[in-house]
């Protein structure tokens, strides 16, 4: 142990955790120190993540409805009744919930694909040497840094069937012959993907851009001497070298899109068409307009479980692998 760290340690050591947690005393000096450093972060996580999760799970097994809004703790314990109800495809709620899960998957995968393609293209362009690169980077970040409420409301106006600029533009270009309903009917999910991707692609861009910058120039030189053209250099050098950062991007975009509330809510509001009814929006609208908090919580837990399962599987099979190891 170096002198500096022991000095820092003694100042933190005044918190006598051992008195309250006997197990703590069994940890090594170094582990105790690590836990002390983690404490503020853990406390924060407990407060804003863990407690609401436990609370949500608790409510999901209670019959909290309009009668118990202010006294939720007095609601009867109903075991898995809420789950049975929301997952039963024969009930209207169950059928809609399953449908919303399907739409959520389309929303997540669609957004992932679109943000990745847009982000990668933008990152590759930014990685070229040209005048005004800095300005272009700032400009491309705007959709992400601008307040999403503003961006989404503007998109909502632009997508109006009668007055929106998008329809009038497409009409005048002759791409379509009559105005399209973007925010009503079956197109809604695609509009949602488009708009949400617009707000998210700069993040993907900046992550991939950072990844691109860490690829040594010499690999491209070696490849060009080896006879690789521009496409082959992308295919065999750039893309594989971006694998680690892409893995992170894919995971984050999938999960964040699954639980994204802002985009669907602001774009589609409290009365969304079925096609745009992604789970999180459906849960919110269902729970808060019908005062069905127990069932709403059950759906939330299902969504949470799906997201966690995905993340864990992903970690296990993809994220955990070493991208530079050998074949053996």
């Amino acid at each position: 142990m170096t002198r500096t760290s022991s000095r820092v340690r003694s100042s933190v050591a005044e918190i006598e955790i051992g008195r309250y947690l006997p197990l703590y005393n069994r940890l090594s000096d170094e582990q105790q120190y690590a836990y002390k450093l983690l404490l503020p972060g853990l406390a924060m996580m407990l407060l804003i993540h863990f407690i609401p999760i436990v609370w949500g799970v608790l409510i999901s097994v209670l019959g909290v409805d309009s009668g118990y809004v202010s006294q939720w703790y007095e609601a009867p314990f109903v075991w898995a009744e809420n789950y049975r109800f929301v997952l039963d495809p024969r009930t209207v709620v169950g059928e809609r919930f399953w449908y919303s899960l399907r739409q959520t998957v389309i929303f997540s995968v669609g957004t992932l694909l679109l943000t990745y393609v847009l982000g990668l293209t933008a990152a590759l362009l930014l990685n070229q040497r040209f005048k005004g690169r800095f300005a272009a980077r700032t400009l491309l970040l705007l959709p992400w840094v601008a307040p999403s409420v503003v961006t989404l409301l503007i998109w909502r106006m632009m997508f109006q069937q009668q007055s929106g600029i998008i329809n009038s533009l497409l009409l005048s270009l002759g791409v379509i012959s009559e105005p399209i309903y973007w925010l009503i009917g079956d197109n809604t999910i695609w509009t949602l993907i488009l708009v949400h991707s617009w707000t998210q692609f700069p993040l993907v861009m900046i992550m991939l851009y950072a990844g691109l910058q860490s690829i040594p120039e010499q690999l491209y030189e070696a490849a060009s001497i080896d006879g690789a053209g521009r496409w082959e250099q992308f295919r065999y050098i750039t893309f594989p070298q971006l694998k680690p950062v892409s893995a992170v991007v894919v995971l984050l975009m999938m999960l964040w899109t699954m639980i994204n509330f802002t985009s669907p809510y602001i774009l589609l509001g409290a009365q969304p068409p079925q096609s745009g009814q992604v789970s999180i929006l459906y849960i919110y609208n269902f729970a808060f307009s019908n005062y069905q908090f127990g069932r709403g919580a059950a759906m939330s837990v299902v969504l949470f479980a799906i997201a966690m399962a995905m993340a864990m599987l992903y970690y296990k099979y993809l994220f955990d692998q070493d991208f530079t190891e050998g074949d053996r």
């Binding site: 690999l219 001497i225 080896d226 006879g227 594989p240 530079t324 074949d327 053996r328």
Partner: protein, 388 residues
């Protein structure tokens, strides 16, 4: 295999603070199968020249020809070259096998099986069959180096380009790889351009060395030519360790002598007649000076220069003696252990035949040492020894 001809090559880098001339009007012909070493200090333009030959830099002016073909404006992949980089530049996400196969896959129509055979064959030659399944991260520096060389060799290119390929290895491995590379190049008989800042590599590896400084060609010649017949003061000072000693002298043509504030050396008439400058720099290789503590017993006492020993460095086989002559430092490498003490007075003897003289202003060589530069075969050498 091919002959490489470089004519009036100039490379200028434009930067906001002005343009930098990295290579200035370089003309050079490299023979088919020749091993040429570019050597010079950092920033002398040796790597830039190599990169121009590779096609990684666009040439500002001049031409580069491979055989009879002008390749000046061709892309790297159209030049049939292979290059070894200082830090190997292996593809980190590919196994050694795929690293070696990549060039063949990109630039030839060979089937996967044929590529596999050639990779195996080269790996065997390099002794790296065991490493083929590993990715670069799992390999040591020396192993990565071998894979990088293998990747170049498997291509069977017209020209090998090597950019300081040994400088990331430790000293022992570097010496071993030096010999191995020479052997390899000899066996493959492929035109090779090798860049280094290490004069040992330059002296030992190349058929010819090309000495560069400040983007300008200083001298092209065999290692011994450059060492014993340096074209100018830069080459003389750059090659050799410890480096050549330089002392500013004035030629006193009437007296037929070189004079320095603290000594005067007489010159033979034949040398004196060739001098047209009076401000000169005298050069002495450390191994050409000899020391004596008994000047009276020396056969040529008038050619002795008095000096004071400042430091001695016994190296085992030889001893480097640092002398002070009128405030200037001179190094002499003497055989064995001399038992000199610091501060002791000694006399330095330099045979006239071994003296180098340079024009003080231009640095151009005026007189060289008479050391033989033609390689002497062992049998001939022993015959000379018998007759002597």
């Amino acid at each position: 295999m091919s002959r490489v001809t470089i004519e009036n090559l100039t490379k200028v880098y434009d930067s906001p603070s002005g343009s930098i001339e990295a290579v200035d009007d370089l003309t050079l012909a490299i023979d088919d199968g020749e091993f040429v070493v570019f050597v010079g200090p950092s920033g002398c333009g040796k790597s830039t020249t190599l990169r121009c030959i590779a096609g990684l830099e666009t040439v500002t002016d001049g031409t580069i020809e491979f055989g009879a073909e002008d390749v000046t404006n061709r892309k790297p992949k159209e030049r049939d070259i292979a290059m070894v980089f200082q830090n190997y530049a292996l593809y980190p996400h590919m196994t050694a096998r795929k690293n070696m196969a990549f060039g063949l896959k990109m630039s030839t129509d060979l089937s996967a099986g044929e590529i596999e055979d050639r990779v195996e064959e080269t790996a065997q030659m390099m002794g790296i069959e065991e490493l083929l399944a590993d990715k670069p991260k799992a390999l040591s520096g020396g192993q990565q180096q071998r894979v990088a060389l293998g990747r170049a060799i498997v291509r069977d290119p017209a020209v090998f380009l090597m950019d300081e390929p040994l400088s990331n290895l430790d000293a022992k491995l570097r010496a071993q790889m030096r010999t191995e590379l020479q052997q390899l190049q000899h066996d493959l008989d492929v035109t090779t351009v090798y860049v280094t800042h290490d004069q040992t590599e330059a002296m030992t590896m190349g058929d010819r060395i090309v000495v560069l400084n400040d983007g300008e060609l200083q001298q092209v010649g065999t290692p011994l030519e450059c060492y014993h017949r340096p074209a100018n003061r830069f080459v003389a000072g750059f090659l050799g360790s410890p480096p050549m000693n330089f002392l500013p002298v004035e030629a006193d043509l009437d007296a037929g002598a070189l004079s320095h504030p603290s000594f005067s050396l007489s010159l033979s008439d034949s040398i004196g007649a060739d001098l047209d400058a009076t401000e000169l720099v005298m050069g002495i290789r450390p191994e050409h000076g000899s020391l004596t503590t008994t000047p009276d017993e020396h056969p040529e006492p008038e050619r002795l220069v008095e000096a004071t020993v400042t430091v001695t460095e016994p190296m085992g086989d030889v001893t480097n003696v640092y002398l002070d002559i009128g405030g200037e430092s001179v190094t002499v490498t003497a055989g064995g252990h001399l038992g000199l003490t610091d501060g002791e007075s000694v006399w330095l003897y330099v045979p006239e035949a071994k003296l180098h003289l340079f024009d003080a202003e231009t640095g151009t060589a005026i007189k060289h040492s008479d050391e033989p530069i033609e390689s002497t075969r062992v049998s001939e050498a022993s015959r000379y020894a018998e007759t002597a």
